[in-house]
């Protein structure tokens, strides 16, 4: 576990002293450190989901050809492999090394539906109403959650900080326009806006989902960055820099951006937690990720059809709780170091 620790302080060029110190401090706070490790584990599962859970083997020999990592590459030649293997009709020379969880996220089997956890050795965490392995779906759901969250956060932090900074820095009409847009978009409940966008689009995908979330969330970041820029602008050293003849560009790049960076980093951390919750909620309502893609929220939504399957409530619920609370712990630790004014 120790090897998957978060980036340590000797981790290649660190941009600002503030951020570097914050990461150093993170190692001193046991709770935040534990949170970071949990996050790292989940991130590891998300990245290598196919290696952990797949209906294709890790390595196999079939019809005199050897396939390396077919669970990642999905070679067309192996299309029949699983059927033949299930029927026990493989030729004597064929063999396969299976991943730890030998099930795909969408692989259904009717006769193994709704198995409780630990009832079979193969299905460690049981199966859902369609006979899909819960653990495999959990691993692939991590990928969905982290993927949507990562892209959405990058998008809304990017849009929000650029527009917020422009509004605060330029003032005048630009600021009026940005502030107005922020006010208007904040009136829409995030969940309702994303739900309606996903429902109205003719074919919603994961891309439209994170785009819609970004659309709904950027005003909050823009508001934060704008306020921060206004605070920085009122400092004497900005006046001094201007008096010395610094161009507006130099003032922006050398003085304002470095000072406004800390709150953005903190907001990004909490932003990931929010997006994980939003994605799970929407998928729970079955308007999030399109059907067929594993997601924690979608796993929970099965409860409506099989309300006695307690493990469908507990397993994804714990996963969401673990990720969100870890993100909040790390976010709070970062905030306390980077931006003590906001300390709760």
């Amino acid at each position: 576990m120790r090897t998957e620790a978060p980036p340590s302080s000797n981790f290649a060029p660190v941009p600002a002293a503030g951020v570097r110190q914050a990461i150093g401090r993170l190692r001193q706070s046991p709770l935040a450190f534990a949170g970071a490790i949990v996050l790292a584990c989940f991130a590891f599962f998300a990245v290598f989901a196919d290696l952990f859970a797949s209906d294709f083997p890790l390595l196999c020999r079939f019809r005199n050809a050897t396939y390396v990592l077919p669970n990642v590459t999905h070679p067309p030649a192996l299309a029949e492999f699983n059927e033949l293997r299930a029927a026990g009709q493989l030729s004597p020379g064929d063999w396969a090394i299976n991943p730890p969880i030998p099930f795909g996220a969408a692989q259904e089997s009717k006769d193994e539906a709704l198995l409780p956890p630990l009832s079979r050795r193969a299905h460690l965490l049981g199966t859902d109403g369609h006979g899909r392995d819960v653990l495999a779906r959990l691993v692939h759901g991590t990928r969905t959650s982290f993927g949507v969250a990562l892209f959405a956060v990058i998008a809304f932090i990017g849009v929000g900080s650029v527009l917020g900074a422009l509004g605060g820095f330029l003032g005048g009409i630009v600021d009026g326009f940005v502030s107005r847009t922020i006010e208007i978009l904040s009136a829409f409940p995030t969940l309702v806006l994303v739900l309606v966008v996903q429902a109205l689009l003719p074919n919603p995908t994961r891309t439209t989902l994170f785009a819609a979330i970004a659309l709904a969330r950027w005003p909050e970041i823009a508001r934060l960055v704008r306020a921060e820029v206004l605070v920085v602008l009122s400092n004497d050293y900005i006046v001094a820099a201007r008096a010395l003849g610094a161009s507006p560009w130099r003032v922006l790049v050398r003085h304002i951006i470095p000072n406004a960076r800390a709150p953005i980093v903190v907001a990004a951390m909490f932003g990931v937690a929010q997006v994980v919750l939003i994605e799970a909620s929407l998928s729970f309502l079955r308007v999030g990720v399109p059907p067929g893609i594993a997601s924690w929220g979608e796993m929970l939504s099965e409860l409506r059809d099989y309300s006695s399957a307690w493990w469908l409530l507990v397993v994804p619920g714990l996963a969401i709780f673990a990720v969100v609370s870890s993100l909040n712990l790390v976010g709070e630790a970062l905030r306390d170091t980077l931006d003590p004014r906001l300390r709760m």
Binding site: L185, A187, F188, L195, V196, P202, V324, N328
Partner: protein, 520 residues
């Protein structure tokens, strides 16, 4: 305070306008019905299919530009365009003839007086295209209307005899007489001006309550437009007055879409039409009056259903908000009182756990643990929403409390020997509450979103539950109406909390007024 309130309310107008623009842009996400790539080919093959496709597009105002209409089309513009195509005999000629027949009597004052200016050849073509109108009006014989040699002469003579009937006062008189004493003859008078009478008929339909008159007017309108009004009659022989009212309403809705086919804009109308005859203008005018159309799920108007759902959802939201505040304040007091002792630590841990739990998970637990019964139908969902939303409020309130406790005036109070409880409740709480009260306005959208989830888990038929049914049933109009309503209510909540804050704290008023002054 009055100045502040007025400013704040005026300041909300552009916000509401912006919200309407955003929601309108959301309507553009709805896939458009297939475009009419070659209208003439389709028209020649299947006129009925053409008409339904065209109608589908017009119901969503897709024939209009989005925001600005430089050339609003009225009956005159449409008639002239059709004539131009007919005369040029280009690829739109078939469509032009079809349009002209649809425009009917309303187009005649713009066609017949200009007959002389056309070449004889063109004149014959136009006259033959008018034949369906003549048949509908019941004037002229088969031979006169369809014979190329006689049609021109017939229409020229027709206009010499009847042009006086095609004036607004004359039609108004005729419709008025029909309403007073009905007779076959007066109905014929109206039939003979065809669609030219529609404007007056629609006015009369709006005003009259008499069931007979409504049915008679409706029949006349149906004859002129070739469109019958269908009323979902779920209870035959039930309230007939209600049914006739629905007929009148259906015609009003139809007229709202098709009015520009049958009336000629005067000067001022032409100017306002640049804004009103657009997709946004038409949509906004309807949305502002609560006309969101009919649900494809059960063929009922959306607005009454929306109001019924909104009552439930906002009751749920309000209850949960109230309860959250009532619980969060004492919890924050307790935390501040026992700061850094085991009570505070435990409370912080519990709140942190709640803070990281998704709303739907809490709701799923509640729905399992709590007894089901009619008494708890709104109470348990509200409780679930409260528990799910309590944490962020409590945490915020606690930190605000601790911040205020560090201020000088609190230290002074303590130095004077004021008891700790009195310091907390009397001195600190009021100041610490202020930011949390403003937070109420900002939290409203989050609470509404939470209500959507809780409703679905508890199957409470509020906005959220019905929205998800609308997603399944492709009821796009419902979704649009819902998002507009929630955004407007959120804005209203923000205004109320701003006003409340300003009432409590005069400094905020001054700050707001000063800022507005420098921005203007």
């Amino acid at each position: 305070m009055l100045r502040f309130s007025t400013r704040r309310l005026l300041w909300a107008i552009p916000t509401l306008f912006g919200i309407s623009v955003i929601v309108f842009l959301l309507t553009s996400l709805i896939p458009e019905p297939p475009g009419l790539a070659s209208p003439d080919a389709l028209l020649a093959l299947e006129p009925a299919v053409f008409d339904t496709l065209e109608e589908e597009r017009r119901e969503r105002f897709l024939d209009l530009p989005r925001f600005v209409n430089n050339r609003p089309k009225d009956a005159r513009a449409r008639a002239e365009e059709a004539i131009a195509h007919l005369v040029a005999d280009d690829e739109h000629a078939l469509l032009a003839a079809h349009t002209l027949a649809r425009l009917g009597g309303a187009a005649l004052p713009h066609v017949l007086p200009n007959f002389d200016r056309l070449t004889p050849h063109a004149r014959i073509k136009v006259a033959l295209a008018l034949a369906p109108i003549g048949e509908r009006m019941g004037v002229g014989g088969e031979s006169e209307l369809h014979d190329p040699e006689r049609a021109t002469a017939f229409w020229t003579r027709f206009w010499e005899d009847r042009s006086l009937d095609f004036t607004e006062p004359s039609v108004r008189r005729t419709v008025g007489r029909l309403l007073r004493h009905t007779s076959e003859l007066r109905e014929r008078d109206i039939t003979e001006v065809d669609t030219f009478a529609l404007a007056e008929i629609m006015l009369a339909l709006k005003d009259t309550r008499d069931r007979d008159a409504i049915l008679r007017l409706s029949a006349l309108a149906a004859h002129a437009t070739g469109r019958s009004v269908e009323i979902p009659d779920d209870a035959p022989g039930a309230e007939t007055a209600e049914q006739s009212k629905q007929i009148a309403q259906a015609w009003q809705a139809w007229w709202y879409i098709h009015k520009s086919d049958y009336v000629t804009f005067g000067g001022p109308e032409r100017v306002t039409a640049a804004v009103s005859e657009t997709r946004y203008g038409k949509w906004l005018a309807r949305a502002a009056t609560g006309q969101f159309g009919v649900s494809p799920i059960d063929n009922r108007p959306i607005f009454p259903k929306l109001m019924a759902g909104a009552q439930i959802t906002f009751a749920l939201t309000g209850l949960a908000m109230l309860a959250s505040y009532l619980i969060a304040l004492p919890l924050a007091l307790l935390s501040a009182w026992k700061h850094n002792r085991s009570v505070d630590r435990t409370l912080a841990l519990v709140l942190f756990v709640l803070y990281s739990l998704p709303t739907f998970w809490v709701a799923e637990i509640f729905v399992r643990v709590m007894p089901s019964g009619s008494a708890g139908r709104i109470v348990w969902p509200a409780a679930a929403l409260t528990v799910a939303s309590l944490a962020s409020l409590s945490r915020y309130q606690r930190s605000a409390m601790l911040e205020v406790l560090g201020l000088d005036y609190v230290r002074t109070a303590r130095a004077k020997g004021v008891s700790e409880l009195r310091v907390l409740v009397v001195h600190a709480l009021r100041n610490a509450m202020m930011p949390t009260v403003t937070l109420a306005g900002l939290q409203l959208p989050a609470f509404i979103g939470g209500a959507f989830i809780v409703e679905e888990v508890f199957a409470v038929p509020g906005l959220g539950y019905q929205s998800l049914r609308a997603v399944d049933g492709h009821d796009d109009a419902w979704l649009i109406a819902t998002i507009l309503l929630t955004a407007v209510v959120s804005t209203a909540g923000l205004i109320v909390s701003d006003l409340a804050y300003a009432l409590l704290d005069p400094r905020v008023r001054e700050l707001f007024l000063r800022r507005q002054g420098t921005q203007a």
